[in-house]
Protein backbone atom coordinates (compact mmCIF):
# COMPACT_ATOMS: atom_id res chain seq x y z
CA UNK A 1 0.00 0.00 0.00
CA UNK A 2 1.20 3.50 -0.81
CA UNK A 3 1.21 5.71 2.26
CA UNK A 4 2.43 8.91 0.64
CA UNK A 5 1.93 9.89 -2.95
CA UNK A 6 3.08 13.20 -4.42
CA UNK A 7 2.20 14.38 -7.90
CA UNK A 8 3.59 17.40 -9.74
CA UNK A 9 4.28 19.27 -6.50
CA UNK A 10 5.40 22.86 -6.95
CA UNK A 11 6.06 25.35 -4.19
CA UNK A 12 8.64 27.06 -2.04
CA UNK A 13 9.21 30.42 -0.41
CA UNK A 14 7.11 33.46 -1.39
CA UNK A 15 7.11 33.93 -5.17
CA UNK A 16 9.97 31.62 -6.04
CA UNK A 17 9.19 27.96 -6.55
CA UNK A 18 11.94 25.66 -5.33
CA UNK A 19 10.01 22.49 -6.08
CA UNK A 20 9.34 22.33 -9.82
CA UNK A 21 7.06 19.33 -10.17
CA UNK A 22 8.02 16.54 -7.79
CA UNK A 23 6.57 13.04 -8.26
CA UNK A 24 7.21 10.65 -5.41
CA UNK A 25 5.69 7.54 -3.80
CA UNK A 26 6.39 5.95 -0.46
CA UNK A 27 5.10 2.48 0.39
CA UNK A 28 3.89 1.54 3.86
CA UNK A 29 6.77 0.36 6.05
CA UNK A 30 9.39 1.68 3.68
CA UNK A 31 12.41 3.89 4.36
CA UNK A 32 13.06 6.39 1.58
CA UNK A 33 16.12 8.61 1.36
CA UNK A 34 15.78 11.89 -0.49
CA UNK A 35 19.26 13.04 -1.48
CA UNK A 36 20.63 15.81 -3.64
CA UNK A 37 23.00 18.73 -3.55
CA UNK A 38 22.45 21.84 -1.45
CA UNK A 39 19.57 23.86 -2.85
CA UNK A 40 18.06 20.92 -4.70
CA UNK A 41 14.87 21.31 -2.65
CA UNK A 42 15.21 18.46 -0.16
CA UNK A 43 14.26 20.35 3.01
CA UNK A 44 11.69 22.38 1.12
CA UNK A 45 10.04 19.13 0.06
CA UNK A 46 9.88 17.92 3.68
CA UNK A 47 8.41 21.23 4.86
CA UNK A 48 5.84 21.21 2.06
CA UNK A 49 4.72 17.69 3.03
CA UNK A 50 4.25 18.59 6.72
CA UNK A 51 2.53 21.86 5.85
CA UNK A 52 5.08 24.40 7.01
CA UNK A 53 5.50 25.80 3.51
CA UNK A 54 2.74 26.50 0.99
CA UNK A 55 2.56 24.59 -2.28
CA UNK A 56 1.63 26.50 -5.37
CA UNK A 57 0.20 23.46 -7.12
CA UNK A 58 0.22 19.68 -7.08
CA UNK A 59 -1.19 16.85 -5.01
CA UNK A 60 0.05 15.48 -1.68
CA UNK A 61 -1.93 12.41 -0.79
CA UNK A 62 -1.44 10.67 2.57
CA UNK A 63 -3.14 7.30 3.13
CA UNK A 64 -5.40 8.04 0.18
CA UNK A 65 -6.47 11.51 1.39
CA UNK A 66 -5.42 14.77 -0.27
CA UNK A 67 -3.80 16.75 2.52
CA UNK A 68 -2.27 19.59 0.51
CA UNK A 69 -4.76 22.18 1.74
CA UNK A 70 -4.72 21.08 5.40
CA UNK A 71 -2.88 22.96 8.17
CA UNK A 72 0.31 21.55 9.67
CA UNK A 73 -1.64 20.77 12.87
CA UNK A 74 -4.25 18.78 10.91
CA UNK A 75 -1.60 16.83 8.98
CA UNK A 76 0.09 15.95 12.26
CA UNK A 77 -3.23 14.73 13.65
CA UNK A 78 -3.62 12.44 10.62
CA UNK A 79 -0.33 10.74 11.43
CA UNK A 80 2.57 12.68 9.94
CA UNK A 81 5.50 13.25 12.28
CA UNK A 82 8.32 15.65 11.53
CA UNK A 83 11.78 16.14 12.99
CA UNK A 84 13.28 19.41 11.75
CA UNK A 85 16.98 19.79 11.06
CA UNK A 86 17.62 22.51 13.63
CA UNK A 87 15.60 23.67 16.63
CA UNK A 88 14.02 20.23 16.84
CA UNK A 89 13.18 20.37 20.56
CA UNK A 90 11.57 22.98 22.81
CA UNK A 91 14.83 24.12 24.40
CA UNK A 92 13.26 25.98 27.34
CA UNK A 93 10.96 23.12 28.32
CA UNK A 94 12.05 20.05 30.26
CA UNK A 95 12.33 16.69 28.52
CA UNK A 96 9.08 15.57 30.11
CA UNK A 97 7.32 18.78 29.05
CA UNK A 98 8.57 18.34 25.49
CA UNK A 99 6.61 15.09 25.37
CA UNK A 100 3.61 16.31 27.37
CA UNK A 101 3.05 19.31 25.14
CA UNK A 102 2.27 17.25 22.03
CA UNK A 103 -1.47 17.42 21.44
CA UNK A 104 -2.40 13.74 21.85
CA UNK A 105 0.05 13.04 24.66
CA UNK A 106 -0.85 11.00 27.72
CA UNK A 107 1.03 9.50 30.65
CA UNK A 108 0.99 5.93 29.32
CA UNK A 109 2.40 6.91 25.94
CA UNK A 110 5.16 8.96 27.58
CA UNK A 111 6.17 6.01 29.77
CA UNK A 112 6.26 3.78 26.68
CA UNK A 113 8.61 6.23 25.01
CA UNK A 114 10.76 6.52 28.13
CA UNK A 115 11.08 2.72 27.99
CA UNK A 116 12.28 3.02 24.38
CA UNK A 117 14.62 5.92 25.25
CA UNK A 118 15.89 5.16 28.80
CA UNK A 119 18.42 7.99 28.62
CA UNK A 120 15.58 10.49 28.36
CA UNK A 121 13.74 8.88 31.27
CA UNK A 122 16.74 9.47 33.54
CA UNK A 123 16.85 13.14 32.60
CA UNK A 124 13.16 13.89 32.37
CA UNK A 125 13.35 16.99 34.60
CA UNK A 126 16.27 18.52 32.73
CA UNK A 127 15.85 21.41 30.33
CA UNK A 128 16.02 20.17 26.74
CA UNK A 129 18.41 23.01 25.90
CA UNK A 130 21.03 21.47 28.18
CA UNK A 131 21.17 18.18 26.27
CA UNK A 132 23.99 17.14 23.94
CA UNK A 133 23.39 16.81 20.18
CA UNK A 134 22.75 13.06 20.35
CA UNK A 135 20.43 13.34 23.35
CA UNK A 136 18.55 16.18 21.72
CA UNK A 137 17.97 14.04 18.69
CA UNK A 138 16.60 11.19 20.78
CA UNK A 139 14.20 13.67 22.33
CA UNK A 140 13.24 15.03 18.91
CA UNK A 141 12.45 11.50 17.74
CA UNK A 142 10.53 10.70 20.92
CA UNK A 143 8.51 13.92 20.57
CA UNK A 144 7.61 13.11 16.97
CA UNK A 145 6.66 9.55 18.00
CA UNK A 146 4.21 10.63 20.75
CA UNK A 147 1.10 10.60 18.52
CA UNK A 148 2.07 7.23 16.97
CA UNK A 149 2.61 8.63 13.47
CA UNK A 150 2.35 6.41 10.40
CA UNK A 151 4.94 8.48 8.54
CA UNK A 152 7.97 10.33 9.85
CA UNK A 153 9.90 12.96 7.94
CA UNK A 154 13.45 13.44 9.14
CA UNK A 155 15.23 16.55 7.88
CA UNK A 156 19.00 15.97 7.91
CA UNK A 157 18.84 13.86 11.08
CA UNK A 158 22.62 13.52 11.34
CA UNK A 159 23.65 17.05 10.36
CA UNK A 160 24.14 18.30 13.93
CA UNK A 161 25.70 15.09 15.28
CA UNK A 162 29.31 14.32 16.06
CA UNK A 163 30.65 11.61 13.69
CA UNK A 164 30.61 8.90 16.38
CA UNK A 165 26.86 9.44 16.94
CA UNK A 166 25.89 9.10 13.29
CA UNK A 167 25.85 5.30 13.18
CA UNK A 168 23.67 5.13 16.30
CA UNK A 169 21.27 7.58 14.73
CA UNK A 170 20.92 5.55 11.56
CA UNK A 171 20.44 2.39 13.66
CA UNK A 172 17.58 4.13 15.45
CA UNK A 173 15.98 5.15 12.16
CA UNK A 174 16.32 1.59 10.90
CA UNK A 175 14.05 0.45 13.76
CA UNK A 176 11.21 2.83 12.97
CA UNK A 177 9.38 0.58 10.45
CA UNK A 178 9.12 -2.10 13.15
CA UNK A 179 7.15 0.48 15.18
CA UNK A 180 4.73 0.87 12.28
CA UNK A 181 6.31 4.04 10.97
CA UNK A 182 7.28 4.68 7.37
CA UNK A 183 10.21 7.04 7.01
CA UNK A 184 11.26 9.74 4.59
CA UNK A 185 14.82 10.94 5.28
CA UNK A 186 16.26 14.06 3.76
CA UNK A 187 19.98 13.54 4.09
CA UNK A 188 23.35 14.93 3.04
CA UNK A 189 25.13 11.74 4.12
CA UNK A 190 23.44 10.05 1.21
CA UNK A 191 25.50 6.86 1.15
CA UNK A 192 24.99 6.00 4.79
CA UNK A 193 21.35 6.90 4.57
CA UNK A 194 20.77 4.82 1.44
CA UNK A 195 22.49 1.90 3.16
CA UNK A 196 19.61 1.68 5.67
CA UNK A 197 16.90 2.62 3.14
CA UNK A 198 14.68 0.56 0.89
CA UNK A 199 14.52 3.22 -1.78
CA UNK A 200 16.19 6.42 -2.71
CA UNK A 201 15.42 9.40 -4.79
CA UNK A 202 17.77 12.15 -5.86
CA UNK A 203 16.56 15.71 -6.39
CA UNK A 204 18.17 18.15 -8.76
CA UNK A 205 16.81 21.63 -9.40
CA UNK A 206 13.53 20.87 -7.65
CA UNK A 207 12.87 17.77 -9.77
CA UNK A 208 13.37 14.06 -9.19
CA UNK A 209 16.50 13.20 -11.17
CA UNK A 210 16.83 9.57 -10.13
CA UNK A 211 14.48 7.25 -8.29
CA UNK A 212 14.95 3.59 -7.48
CA UNK A 213 15.87 0.82 -5.06
CA UNK A 214 18.54 1.97 -2.59
CA UNK A 215 21.05 -0.73 -3.50
CA UNK A 216 20.62 0.00 -7.21
CA UNK A 217 21.26 3.71 -6.62
CA UNK A 218 24.30 2.94 -4.50
CA UNK A 219 25.70 0.82 -7.34
CA UNK A 220 24.75 3.34 -10.03
CA UNK A 221 27.86 4.91 -11.56
CA UNK A 222 26.12 8.13 -12.65
CA UNK A 223 24.45 8.65 -9.27
CA UNK A 224 27.76 8.03 -7.53
CA UNK A 225 29.62 10.53 -9.66
CA UNK A 226 27.02 13.27 -9.68
CA UNK A 227 25.35 13.10 -6.31
CA UNK A 228 26.73 10.64 -3.81
CA UNK A 229 30.40 11.57 -3.72
CA UNK A 230 33.29 9.15 -3.62
CA UNK A 231 32.69 5.77 -2.15
CA UNK A 232 33.60 5.54 1.50
CA UNK A 233 33.62 9.17 2.61
CA UNK A 234 29.95 9.24 3.41
CA UNK A 235 29.53 12.83 2.27
CA UNK A 236 28.10 14.40 -0.82
Amino acid sequence: MTILSIRDLRGGYSEVDILNGIDLDLADGEILTVAGTNGAGKSTLAKAIVGLLPRSSGVISFMGKDIASLSAEARMALGIGYVPQVANVFANLTILENLQVVSSSNRQRIEELFATFPLLAERRRMRAGSLSGGERQQLAFARALVPKPRLMLLDEPTAALSPNKVAASFALIRQLPSLGVSVLIVEQRARQSLAISDRGCILDGGLVALDGAADVLLADQRAAELYLGNIGNGGV
Binding site: F90, V101, V102, S103
Partner: protein, 287 residues
Amino acid sequence: MYFAQLAVNGLVQGLVISLAAMSITLVFGIVRFPNAATGDVMTVGAFSGLIVYPLTGSLLLSGVFAVAVAAAVALASHLLVFRRLAGRSVVALLVASIGVGFVLRSIMGLAFGHQPMVFSMPLSRPYRLGGLAINPLDLQLALLALVMLVLAFAILHLTPIGRQMRAVADNPALARVSGIRSGRVMAALWVLAGAIVGAGGVMLGVKTVVGPEMGWDMLMPAFAAAIFGGIGSPAGALLAGFILGVAQEMSTPFVGFTYKIALSFAIMLIVLLKRPSGLLGRIEGVR
Protein backbone atom coordinates in the same frame (compact mmCIF):
# COMPACT_ATOMS: atom_id res chain seq x y z
CA MET B 1 16.56 54.15 57.80
CA TYR B 2 15.15 56.76 55.45
CA PHE B 3 16.36 54.80 52.45
CA ALA B 4 15.07 51.55 53.93
CA GLN B 5 11.66 53.20 54.18
CA LEU B 6 11.89 54.35 50.57
CA ALA B 7 12.79 50.82 49.54
CA VAL B 8 9.72 49.42 51.31
CA ASN B 9 7.56 52.03 49.58
CA GLY B 10 9.15 51.06 46.29
CA LEU B 11 8.19 47.43 46.65
CA VAL B 12 4.50 48.00 45.92
CA GLN B 13 5.40 50.29 43.04
CA GLY B 14 7.77 47.54 41.91
CA LEU B 15 5.01 44.94 41.97
CA VAL B 16 2.85 47.15 39.74
CA ILE B 17 5.72 47.47 37.28
CA SER B 18 6.36 43.73 37.53
CA LEU B 19 2.77 42.91 36.62
CA ALA B 20 2.78 45.23 33.60
CA ALA B 21 6.21 44.00 32.50
CA MET B 22 5.09 40.38 32.79
CA SER B 23 2.10 41.08 30.58
CA ILE B 24 4.37 42.74 27.99
CA THR B 25 6.93 39.96 28.13
CA LEU B 26 4.30 37.21 27.73
CA VAL B 27 2.79 38.85 24.67
CA PHE B 28 6.23 39.58 23.23
CA GLY B 29 7.44 36.03 23.84
CA ILE B 30 4.47 34.44 22.10
CA VAL B 31 2.92 36.94 19.66
CA ARG B 32 6.28 38.65 19.14
CA PHE B 33 5.47 42.33 19.28
CA PRO B 34 5.71 44.99 22.00
CA ASN B 35 2.11 45.65 23.02
CA ALA B 36 1.79 49.39 23.60
CA ALA B 37 -1.85 48.96 24.68
CA THR B 38 -0.71 47.16 27.85
CA GLY B 39 -0.83 50.34 29.93
CA ASP B 40 -4.32 51.21 28.79
CA VAL B 41 -5.64 47.75 29.62
CA MET B 42 -4.16 48.47 33.04
CA THR B 43 -6.24 51.65 33.18
CA VAL B 44 -9.32 49.61 32.26
CA GLY B 45 -8.54 47.47 35.31
CA ALA B 46 -8.22 50.54 37.53
CA PHE B 47 -11.57 52.02 36.43
CA SER B 48 -13.29 48.63 36.74
CA GLY B 49 -12.02 48.33 40.31
CA LEU B 50 -13.11 51.90 41.00
CA ILE B 51 -16.67 51.07 39.94
CA VAL B 52 -16.95 48.01 42.17
CA TYR B 53 -15.13 49.29 45.25
CA PRO B 54 -17.76 51.78 46.48
CA LEU B 55 -20.48 49.15 45.96
CA THR B 56 -18.75 46.38 47.88
CA GLY B 57 -16.08 48.04 49.99
CA SER B 58 -13.95 45.01 49.23
CA LEU B 59 -10.54 45.39 47.67
CA LEU B 60 -10.53 41.70 46.81
CA LEU B 61 -13.83 41.85 44.90
CA SER B 62 -12.69 45.01 43.11
CA GLY B 63 -9.52 43.19 42.15
CA VAL B 64 -11.37 40.15 40.85
CA PHE B 65 -13.73 42.31 38.80
CA ALA B 66 -10.84 44.39 37.41
CA VAL B 67 -8.95 41.25 36.45
CA ALA B 68 -12.01 39.85 34.66
CA VAL B 69 -12.76 43.05 32.72
CA ALA B 70 -9.11 43.63 31.75
CA ALA B 71 -8.83 40.01 30.60
CA ALA B 72 -11.96 40.42 28.47
CA VAL B 73 -10.67 43.67 26.94
CA ALA B 74 -7.29 42.10 26.16
CA LEU B 75 -9.01 39.11 24.56
CA ALA B 76 -11.19 41.44 22.52
CA SER B 77 -8.12 43.36 21.31
CA HIS B 78 -6.69 40.05 20.13
CA LEU B 79 -9.86 38.89 18.40
CA LEU B 80 -10.71 42.21 16.78
CA VAL B 81 -7.26 43.51 15.90
CA PHE B 82 -4.10 41.54 16.58
CA ARG B 83 -5.33 38.16 15.32
CA ARG B 84 -6.25 39.77 12.02
CA LEU B 85 -2.74 41.17 11.70
CA ALA B 86 -1.00 37.86 12.39
CA GLY B 87 2.04 37.44 10.17
CA ARG B 88 2.47 41.18 9.62
CA SER B 89 5.66 42.96 10.62
CA VAL B 90 6.45 43.84 14.22
CA VAL B 91 6.11 47.52 13.34
CA ALA B 92 2.59 47.01 11.97
CA LEU B 93 1.53 45.26 15.16
CA LEU B 94 3.23 47.85 17.37
CA VAL B 95 1.48 50.72 15.57
CA ALA B 96 -1.82 48.84 15.79
CA SER B 97 -1.33 48.41 19.54
CA ILE B 98 -0.66 52.14 19.92
CA GLY B 99 -3.98 52.62 18.13
CA VAL B 100 -5.79 50.17 20.38
CA GLY B 101 -4.37 51.98 23.40
CA PHE B 102 -5.50 55.31 22.01
CA VAL B 103 -9.04 54.03 21.47
CA LEU B 104 -9.22 52.57 24.99
CA ARG B 105 -7.93 55.85 26.50
CA SER B 106 -10.46 57.88 24.53
CA ILE B 107 -13.34 55.64 25.58
CA MET B 108 -12.34 55.92 29.23
CA GLY B 109 -11.90 59.67 28.87
CA LEU B 110 -15.41 59.97 27.45
CA ALA B 111 -16.94 57.66 30.03
CA PHE B 112 -15.22 58.89 33.17
CA GLY B 113 -13.85 62.33 32.29
CA HIS B 114 -10.35 63.56 32.92
CA GLN B 115 -10.69 64.62 36.55
CA PRO B 116 -8.49 62.42 38.75
CA MET B 117 -10.53 59.94 40.76
CA VAL B 118 -9.49 58.06 43.88
CA PHE B 119 -10.33 54.89 45.72
CA SER B 120 -11.55 56.33 49.04
CA MET B 121 -9.90 53.89 51.36
CA PRO B 122 -10.35 54.07 55.13
CA LEU B 123 -7.25 55.40 56.82
CA SER B 124 -5.34 52.90 58.83
CA ARG B 125 -2.46 53.06 61.27
CA PRO B 126 0.76 51.71 59.80
CA TYR B 127 2.44 48.69 61.35
CA ARG B 128 5.77 49.50 62.97
CA LEU B 129 8.54 47.07 62.23
CA GLY B 130 11.90 48.04 63.74
CA GLY B 131 11.48 51.68 62.82
CA LEU B 132 9.92 50.99 59.41
CA ALA B 133 6.34 52.05 58.80
CA ILE B 134 4.38 49.53 56.79
CA ASN B 135 0.97 50.51 55.55
CA PRO B 136 -1.61 47.69 55.98
CA LEU B 137 -3.09 48.69 52.64
CA ASP B 138 0.29 48.11 50.98
CA LEU B 139 0.34 44.65 52.49
CA GLN B 140 -3.10 43.90 51.04
CA LEU B 141 -2.02 45.17 47.64
CA ALA B 142 1.17 43.17 47.76
CA LEU B 143 -0.88 40.11 48.62
CA LEU B 144 -3.20 40.74 45.66
CA ALA B 145 -0.19 41.03 43.36
CA LEU B 146 1.47 37.93 44.77
CA VAL B 147 -1.72 35.88 44.32
CA MET B 148 -1.85 37.04 40.70
CA LEU B 149 1.82 36.26 40.12
CA VAL B 150 1.64 32.83 41.74
CA LEU B 151 -1.44 32.09 39.68
CA ALA B 152 0.28 33.22 36.48
CA PHE B 153 3.38 31.11 37.14
CA ALA B 154 1.22 28.13 38.09
CA ILE B 155 -0.72 28.45 34.84
CA LEU B 156 2.49 28.75 32.81
CA HIS B 157 4.30 25.85 34.45
CA LEU B 158 1.68 23.45 35.80
CA THR B 159 -1.15 23.42 33.27
CA PRO B 160 -1.29 21.98 29.74
CA ILE B 161 -2.29 25.33 28.22
CA GLY B 162 0.62 27.03 30.01
CA ARG B 163 3.05 24.43 28.68
CA GLN B 164 1.65 25.01 25.22
CA MET B 165 2.15 28.77 25.59
CA ARG B 166 5.77 28.22 26.54
CA ALA B 167 6.21 25.80 23.64
CA VAL B 168 4.80 28.31 21.13
CA ALA B 169 7.07 31.00 22.61
CA ASP B 170 10.05 28.67 22.33
CA ASN B 171 9.54 27.38 18.80
CA PRO B 172 6.36 28.24 16.87
CA ALA B 173 7.06 25.95 13.90
CA LEU B 174 7.77 22.96 16.10
CA ALA B 175 4.61 23.75 18.07
CA ARG B 176 2.58 23.54 14.87
CA VAL B 177 3.98 20.17 13.87
CA SER B 178 3.40 18.99 17.45
CA GLY B 179 -0.30 19.59 16.88
CA ILE B 180 -0.58 22.57 19.24
CA ARG B 181 -3.61 24.61 18.18
CA SER B 182 -2.31 28.15 18.18
CA GLY B 183 -5.80 29.74 18.21
CA ARG B 184 -6.58 28.37 21.66
CA VAL B 185 -3.11 29.16 22.95
CA MET B 186 -3.32 32.75 21.73
CA ALA B 187 -6.75 33.30 23.29
CA ALA B 188 -5.55 31.93 26.62
CA LEU B 189 -2.41 34.04 26.44
CA TRP B 190 -4.36 37.27 25.93
CA VAL B 191 -6.71 36.44 28.80
CA LEU B 192 -3.72 35.82 31.05
CA ALA B 193 -1.84 38.92 29.90
CA GLY B 194 -4.96 41.06 30.43
CA ALA B 195 -5.71 39.56 33.84
CA ILE B 196 -2.18 40.19 35.11
CA VAL B 197 -2.13 43.81 34.05
CA GLY B 198 -5.70 44.34 35.30
CA ALA B 199 -4.56 43.45 38.82
CA GLY B 200 -1.73 45.94 38.37
CA GLY B 201 -4.28 48.57 37.39
CA VAL B 202 -6.22 48.25 40.64
CA MET B 203 -3.00 48.41 42.64
CA LEU B 204 -1.81 51.51 40.84
CA GLY B 205 -5.26 53.08 41.18
CA VAL B 206 -5.31 52.51 44.93
CA LYS B 207 -1.78 53.83 45.38
CA THR B 208 -2.17 56.92 43.21
CA VAL B 209 -5.10 58.48 41.37
CA VAL B 210 -7.19 57.00 38.59
CA GLY B 211 -7.33 58.78 35.26
CA PRO B 212 -7.42 57.79 31.58
CA GLU B 213 -3.68 58.49 31.16
CA MET B 214 -2.43 56.55 34.18
CA GLY B 215 -1.62 53.31 32.32
CA TRP B 216 -0.01 55.03 29.38
CA ASP B 217 2.35 56.75 31.82
CA MET B 218 3.29 53.35 33.26
CA LEU B 219 4.25 51.98 29.87
CA MET B 220 7.85 53.20 29.88
CA PRO B 221 8.85 51.69 33.24
CA ALA B 222 7.00 48.50 32.26
CA PHE B 223 8.88 48.23 28.96
CA ALA B 224 12.12 49.04 30.75
CA ALA B 225 11.48 46.21 33.23
CA ALA B 226 10.51 43.76 30.47
CA ILE B 227 13.77 44.51 28.65
CA PHE B 228 15.82 44.64 31.84
CA GLY B 229 14.45 41.25 32.93
CA GLY B 230 15.10 39.69 29.55
CA ILE B 231 12.27 39.95 27.08
CA GLY B 232 10.19 36.77 27.04
CA SER B 233 11.16 35.84 30.61
CA PRO B 234 8.26 36.22 33.10
CA ALA B 235 10.56 35.60 36.08
CA GLY B 236 12.95 38.22 34.74
CA ALA B 237 10.10 40.73 34.39
CA LEU B 238 9.09 40.13 37.99
CA LEU B 239 12.61 40.61 39.30
CA ALA B 240 13.32 43.64 37.12
CA GLY B 241 10.02 45.26 38.12
CA PHE B 242 11.00 44.99 41.77
CA ILE B 243 14.45 46.43 41.17
CA LEU B 244 13.08 49.27 39.06
CA GLY B 245 10.33 50.10 41.56
CA VAL B 246 12.76 50.26 44.45
CA ALA B 247 15.38 52.14 42.41
CA GLN B 248 12.84 54.75 41.29
CA GLU B 249 11.66 55.32 44.83
CA MET B 250 15.19 55.54 46.22
CA SER B 251 16.24 58.01 43.53
CA THR B 252 13.49 60.46 44.55
CA PRO B 253 15.64 62.37 47.08
CA PHE B 254 18.24 62.99 44.38
CA VAL B 255 16.26 63.64 41.23
CA GLY B 256 12.86 64.57 42.64
CA PHE B 257 9.47 63.03 42.06
CA THR B 258 9.05 64.38 38.53
CA TYR B 259 12.20 62.87 37.13
CA LYS B 260 12.23 59.48 38.76
CA ILE B 261 10.61 58.03 35.66
CA ALA B 262 13.71 59.05 33.70
CA LEU B 263 15.57 56.37 35.64
CA SER B 264 13.62 53.78 33.63
CA PHE B 265 14.91 55.24 30.39
CA ALA B 266 18.46 55.24 31.69
CA ILE B 267 18.26 51.63 32.88
CA MET B 268 16.64 50.52 29.63
CA LEU B 269 19.36 52.20 27.57
CA ILE B 270 22.18 50.74 29.63
CA VAL B 271 20.68 47.24 29.44
CA LEU B 272 20.14 47.47 25.69
CA LEU B 273 23.73 48.61 25.20
CA LYS B 274 25.51 46.34 27.65
CA ARG B 275 23.40 43.22 28.06
CA PRO B 276 20.65 42.96 25.43
CA SER B 277 19.50 39.60 26.79
CA GLY B 278 18.62 41.20 30.15
CA LEU B 279 18.83 39.61 33.58
CA LEU B 280 17.27 36.23 32.87
CA GLY B 281 16.72 36.31 29.13
CA ARG B 282 18.48 34.18 26.60
CA ILE B 283 19.59 35.64 23.33
CA GLU B 284 18.12 32.70 21.44
CA GLY B 285 14.75 33.57 22.90
CA VAL B 286 14.76 36.87 21.05
CA ARG B 287 13.90 36.03 17.50
